[in-house]
């Protein structure tokens, strides 16, 4: 009876390559993590083959939250595609906003008023802090520390309050518009942002004392999942994952857009490329984000928040454009092809999470199951962004 039942539960298309046929000794366990699993943060599925607790092979399975964002771009007008951008990566929605808006602006040659550029920088960097904080909490949840995520949320709450003042929403922002931003910032916003920056600087030592310096965390992170720069390049990894391996590639510096070339900030990099380096890079980026926000607030010019003379209908000329921005997870690229019609002919979104996830299979090989969870968390994956 029991044998009968187990023979019926043999798996599916994705577990088939892990069958005993291919494993001569057959003494392994195929474990299906996800799509509903606490460590996958969303509907990611990872099929792992375990030898004891060691992972022989790991295979991510995608597509559980595929929403056809790229296809949606082809059936909506240029403007109507804007709210989609907040939903691709809900944690750093403003970077995606920016990538699409920037691409259309580049294609149409729309000039953005300087005030709008500064507002974009401030809000985008605040959003980046927000995203890193959530990653921090969720990653520690993966490692079994339950409390930090609530401390992170207490700080996120302030950022969300600030962003709500200008964008009106708290998560899936749709704030940037072709030629500017949808609403101007007021003095209250500036005051509260400055207040937040000062408060958050005081919170960071607490984060370090509670988590970063903790010996248990260091034991779980150091020398785990070492990603060489060569391997990171091979998979096209970007963002903190690449920078953790010591490659100082940041779109804000490498291909400066907007006003980033006028701002003074460092690109933190790691040395070894292990999980701890990726962790430290993100924590150091929090500092840099605060620096950028402070500088942008100091230099915020007066003027219009949106280009005053915009066409009623946005119909870009024939042509193609690629525009990349630095998101919290890496390089966000938007490729647009216009046939001169009211709708894009083709939209291609380059999500950093997709490349970052693809190296997981190689990185997790031979590690312990607990380390694989730690590595998966350190890649900072947002599954809706990967599936799009």
């Amino acid at each position: 009876m029991s044998q009968d039942v187990n023979s019926r539960l043999t798996g599916d298309f994705y577990t088939a390559p892990f069958g005993p046929r291919l494993e001569p000794d057959g003494d392994t366990l195929v474990l299906n993590m996800g799509p509903q699993h606490p460590a996958t943060h969303g509907v990611l599925r990872v099929v792992v083959e375990l030898d004891g607790e060691y992972i022989r092979r790991a295979e991510p399975v995608l597509g559980y939250i595929h929403r056809m964002h790229e296809k949606m771009g082809e059936v909506k007008t240029w403007v109507q595609y804007l709210p989609n951008m907040g939903r691709v990566d809900y944690l750093h929605a403003l970077a995606w906003n920016w990538a699409y808006v920037g691409a259309v602006e580049k294609l149409m040659g729309i000039e953005v008023p300087p005030r709008a550029e500064y507002i974009r920088v401030i809000t985008c960097e605040l959003n980046r802090i927000n995203s890193h904080l959530l990653w921090w909490g969720a990653y520690l949840l993966d490692l079994g520390a339950f409390t930090p995520i609530l401390y992170a949320f207490a700080d996120r709450e302030h950022i969300m309050d600030i962003l709500q003042m200008v964008t009106g929403s708290r998560l899936t922002y749709c704030y940037y518009r072709f030629g500017g931003v949808s609403g101007d910032v007021n003095d209250e916003f500036i005051r509260r942002t400055r207040e937040f920056v000062a408060d958050f600087k005081k919170r960071l030592p607490m984060y370090r004392a509670l988590v970063t310096d903790n010996i248990i965390l260091r034991g779980r992170c150091e020398d785990i999942g070492v990603l060489t720069p060569e391997m990171a390049r091979r998979y096209g990894a970007t963002g903190p994952v690449l920078r953790g391996s010591g490659v100082a590639y940041d779109v804000r510096r490498a291909e400066p857009y907007s006003i980033y070339d006028r701002l003074d900030f460092d690109i933190p990099t790691g040395r070894k490329g292990d999980v701890m380096d990726r962790y430290e890079v993100r924590m150091a980026e929090l500092d840099q984000c605060l620096r950028i926000v402070e500088q942008a607030l100091d230099a915020l010019p007066t003027g219009a928040h949106i280009h005053p003379d915009l066409p009623e209908r946005f119909i870009p000329p024939k042509g193609e454009v690629y525009y990349a921005v630095e998101g919290a997870r890496g390089k966000i690229g938007v490729y647009l092809l216009s046939d001169g019609g009211p709708k894009p002919y083709r939209v291609k979104l380059r999500s950093p999470g997709f490349s970052n996830l693809s190296l997981f299979a190689e990185l997790a090989q031979g590690t312990l199951l607990a380390d694989a969870v730690s590595i998966l968390g350190s890649l900072d994956l947002v599954i809706p962004e990967i599936d799009r």
Binding site: K76, S182, L210, I215
Partner: protein, 192 residues
């Protein structure tokens, strides 16, 4: 080497105590959470809820809407639907299609606050419905409206158990808002 490792381990144990000190310190601090039924959040003034109609300056019962259909057209999820009829020189005509009735000319949505030129035919809004369950709150309709006839409501506590409860009749909402404002207005001087 081994002495160094020993030292590192002792430092590690110390880090555990530091962590305990942090959480212990937070333990005695007051709560940060807002207890919803007893307390409410204070930042609703910047909240963007579903859209609502703005009344005309002279009459709180009629909407400012000029029925130009721009909001319906730009909405990415097509959640706004309008019905109107017109009376005028051409006689009475009813339609839900802007093609039948010429929409007023407006230059640019971003050069806003320009009132449309007075029209020969008079338009009357019959219904302005919003299917809020489709709305993605992008704010494009508010931005494109040439006469600022739409704004965001502060209705953060909108709940419902059926899909129909999110199909909002904004014209009825405007009327009830006007009625409650009128009901509240006379009582205020008496109270003061």
């Amino acid at each position: 080497m081994s002495m160094k490792r020993l030292f590192q381990n002792i430092k590690g144990l110390w880090s555990l105590l530091v962590g305990l000190k942090v959480t212990g310190g937070e333990l005695i601090k007051p709560w940060l959470t807002v207890h919803y039924p007893r307390q409410e959040v204070e930042n609703l003034s910047s909240y963007r809820g579903h859209i609502e109609l703005v009344p005309a300056t002279d009459d709180p019962l009629t909407p400012r809407c000029i029925m130009c259909w721009k909001c319906v057209e730009i909405c990415p999820s097509r959640c706004i639907s309008l019905r109107m009829h017109a009376t005028g020189e051409a006689g009475v005509a009813a339609a839900d299609d802007p093609g039948l009735l010429l929409a007023p000319e407006v230059k640019s949505p971003y050069s806003a606050h320009l009132a449309p030129p007075p029209d020969k035919i008079e338009r009357i809004l019959d219904s302005y419905r919003l299917n809020y369950s489709l709305c993605s709150l992008c704010g494009l309709c508010v931005q494109i409206c040439p006469v600022d006839a739409i704004r965001f409501s502060r209705n953060a506590y909108l709940v419902g158990t059926t899909r129909q409860s999110f199909e909002l009749d904004l014209l009825a909402r405007l009327k009830s808002q006007a009625a409650s404002a009128r009901g509240a207005a006379p009582t205020q001087p008496q109270g003061a």
